[in-house]
C-alpha cells in the first residue's frame, strides 16, 4: 500500500496523495523527511493545489513506468537530481500532455507558477514560465500590454525617447 501524504490548502481543504506524487515537490520531500505526514500549505488555494497535484501525478507516473529503458534513464535523471538544472522533457507524449495542461489564462498560470515556486517543483516552474515567454515572443509592446493588462506608465515624451533609443532593433536597413 503506497504511503499517503496529506496536503492542506489555504482554505482548509484536505488532499491525500501518494508519496511519490507529493515528492515531485522538493519542499514537501524535505518536510516529510523530518517529521510530518500532514503538510499545511496556507499560501496555496484549493483550486491551484488541485492543478498542481494533477501535474505531479502525471509526472510521477511517467517516472515510475517508463516506456523503454533509455527514456527511463532520461526520466530518472530529471527527477532524482538535487542540482537545480532543468532538462527539457524528452518524452513527446508527456510534452503533449504538458502543452494541454498549460492552456489556461494568464492569471491561472501565474497562480500555478507561484505555488510551484513555493513548493519547489522545478519542472512545473520551467514549463509555466516558458509558456508565458512564448506568449510574449514576437509581440509588439501594445499587444503585450493588452495580453497582460499592463498599464503604460510612460509619458508620451518618454515613450518617444525610448523608441528612438532602441530604433536599431527595428531597423531594416
Amino acid at each position: 500500500m503506497a504511503k499517503m501524504i496529506k496536503l492542506v490548502s489555504g482554505d482548509g481543504a484536505e488532499f491525500e496523495v501518494e508519496e511519490e506524487v507529493a515528492f515531485q515537490s522538493k519542499i514537501i520531500k524535505d518536510i516529510v523527511a523530518d517529521a510530518d505526514d500532514v503538510i499545511p500549505l496556507p499560501t496555496v488555494s484549493s483550486k491551484v493545489l488541485i492543478q498542481v497535484i494533477e501535474y505531479c501525478r502525471k509526472h510521477a507516473a511517467v517516472n515510475s513506468f517508463p516506456l523503454s529503458p533509455s527514456s527511463s534513464a532520461a526520466a530518472a535523471a530529471s527527477s532524482s537530481s538535487s542540482i537545480s538544472y532543468s532538462k527539457p522533457v524528452s518524452d513527446p507524449a508527456l510534452r503533449a500532455w504538458d502543452n494541454e495542461f498549460v492552456k489556461l489564462n494568464n492569471s491561472s498560470l501565474f497562480d500555478i507558477v507561484i505555488a510551484a515556486n513555493y513548493l519547489d517543483i522545478e519542472e512545473l516552474v520551467d514549463l509555466v514560465l516558458e509558456t508565458v515567454a512564448d506568449r510574449i515572443k514576437g509581440k509588439q509592446a501594445q499587444e503585450i500590454r493588452r495580453q497582460f493588462n499592463i498599464e503604460n506608465d510612460f509619458t508620451p515624451e518618454e515613450e518617444e525617447a525610448l523608441r528612438r533609443e532602441n530604433s536599431w532593433a527595428f531597423q531594416n536597413n
Partner: protein, 357 residues
C-alpha cells in the same frame, strides 16, 4: 527554507523607514561596482546615471533593489530609521507607496521579481527591447545585464578575457556589435544580396535562447572547450578510443549541452535530430537514442526496418561481448557515482562537478 526567512526579513525591512542623503547615495552607488553579489538581484549600474542628475531617479531603484537583496541574503545591519523614500514613479493618486522592485499593474503584479527575470531568460534580444517599451518596470527588468551577457555570448561566443566579463555593459556591447556587424555586411556584400543578408542579420536578433541554454552555468565557455576540459580532467585525450563501442546500456555518460561523453573512453556523442545511436522502440513507435534518451520520430520506411533490426542486434552483441558496467546503468545517479569513484582526490571531484548535468 531560506526563502521564507528571506520573505520574513523583507517584510520587516519594508516596515522600517529608511532615509539616505544624496551624498551617501552617490558614495554607496560607486561602491556597488565592486559588489560581487548575485547578479540577478543587482540591477545594471549605468555609468550615466551617476553623473546625470536627471537620471537620479534610477538611483532610487538601484538603491531599493540593492537593499532588498542585502536583506534577503541577511547580510547587512539595518540603516537608521527615519522617513521612507517612496518608490519613485509612484502615481500620485495611489495612497500607498508601491515597491520599486515589483511591477504594479496587470496580471504580472502577483509575480515575484525573480520569476519575472526567469521569463526574460527565454527571450531574444528583439523581444527584450520590445518589453522595454511596455512599462517602466519591464524596461528596468529587460535591461538586466546578465540577460544581455547571455545573449551576447550565445551569438558571438566570448571574445574577451575573463577579467572583462563582469564589468562590461553587456546590453550596450550587444547593440554596438550588432550594429557593427550590420554595417560590415552592408558594406561588403554585392547589392543583389544585400537585402538577403540584412534579413539574415535581423533574424539573429530574434533568436531566443533554447530551454536547455537558459541555465547560465555553461555560459563562460563554448561547449567544445568544456568537453575538452572535461576530458583532460579525466586523463582522456581527444582521439577516439579504439575498439570501444559506446552504447546506452553499457556506458555511463557525462552531459554538456547536447554532447554526451562516454566516461570510460571520452568518446563523444552529439545528440541532434535523428542521431545515429537512436534505435527503434516498438512500444512507443519512436526512435530513441540509447545514449541520451531523446526520442525522435521515425523517418525510415518499413523496408529499412529489417536492416535496422539487424544493426541493432549486431550492436548489442558487440556491446554484450564487452564487460558490462555494474548494475547502475546509465542514469544520472550512476554517472555521479562513477564520476566520484574514478576521481583520485577531492580536487578532481570538485573540478569534475562543474561538468555534471
Amino acid at each position: 527554507m531560506d526563502q521564507s526567512v528571506g520573505v520574513f526579513l523583507l517584510t520587516l525591512s519594508r516596515s522600517f523607514i529608511i532615509h539616505v542623503s544624496r551624498e551617501t547615495k552617490i558614495e554607496f552607488l560607486s561602491g556597488i561596482s565592486d559588489f560581487k553579489g548575485e547578479e540577478e538581484r543587482i540591477p545594471p549600474l549605468r555609468a550615466e546615471s551617476m553623473a546625470d542628475p536627471a537620471a537620479a531617479d534610477d538611483d532610487d531603484t538601484v538603491l531599493a533593489s540593492f537593499l532588498e537583496s542585502e536583506i534577503l541574503s541577511a547580510g547587512l545591519e539595518q540603516e537608521d530609521s527615519s522617513e521612507v523614500r517612496p518608490a519613485k514613479r509612484v502615481r500620485s493618486d495611489e495612497g500607498s507607496s508601491r515597491e520599486a522592485s515589483q511591477i504594479g499593474t496587470g496580471t504580472f503584479s502577483k509575480m515575484p521579481p525573480e520569476l519575472f527575470h526567469y521569463i526574460f531568460k527565454f527571450l531574444s534580444s528583439e523581444d527584450l527591447i520590445t518589453c522595454a517599451l511596455v512599462c517602466k518596470y519591464m524596461s528596468f527588468a529587460a535591461s538586466d545585464e546578465s540577460l544581455w551577457r547571455h545573449l551576447y555570448c550565445m551569438r558571438w561566443g566570448l571574445g574577451c578575457s575573463k577579467g572583462m566579463l563582469r564589468q562590461c555593459a553587456w546590453k550596450k556591447l550587444y547593440i554596438q556589435r550588432d550594429q557593427e556587424d550590420m554595417n560590415e555586411f552592408v558594406r561588403n556584400t554585392p547589392s543583389e544580396f544585400k537585402e538577403y543578408y540584412i534579413q539574415m542579420q535581423a533574424a539573429k536578433r530574434s533568436q531566443a535562447p533554447r530551454p536547455s541554454q537558459v541555465d547560465d552555468r555553461a555560459l563562460d565557455r563554448t561547449v567544445a572547450e568544456q568537453v575538452s576540459m572535461w576530458k583532460k580532467s579525466r586523463g582522456l585525450t581527444d582521439e577516439a578510443a579504439n575498439g570501444h563501442i559506446c552504447s546506452g546500456n553499457t556506458c555511463s555518460y557525462s552531459q554538456i549541452g547536447d554532447v554526451f561523453i562516454c566516461e570510460r573512453t571520452g568518446c563523444v556523442h552529439v545528440c541532434v535530430d535523428n542521431c545515429r545511436e537512436a534505435v527503434f522502440d516498438a512500444v512507443s513507435g519512436f526512435m530513441v537514442c540509447t545514449i541520451s534518451g531523446q526520442c525522435f520520430d521515425r523517418l525510415l520506411d518499413p523496408g529499412d526496418e529489417s536492416e535496422t533490426l539487424q544493426n541493432d542486434q549486431d550492436q548489442q552483441a558487440a556491446a554484450a561481448a564487452e564487460e558490462p558496467e555494474p548494475f547502475w546503468g546509465s542514469g544520472r545517479f550512476a554517472r555521479y557515482y562513477m564520476l566520484g569513484y574514478n576521481c583520485a582526490d577531492e580536487k578532481e571531484l570538485e573540478d569534475a562537478w562543474q561538468f555534471l548535468p
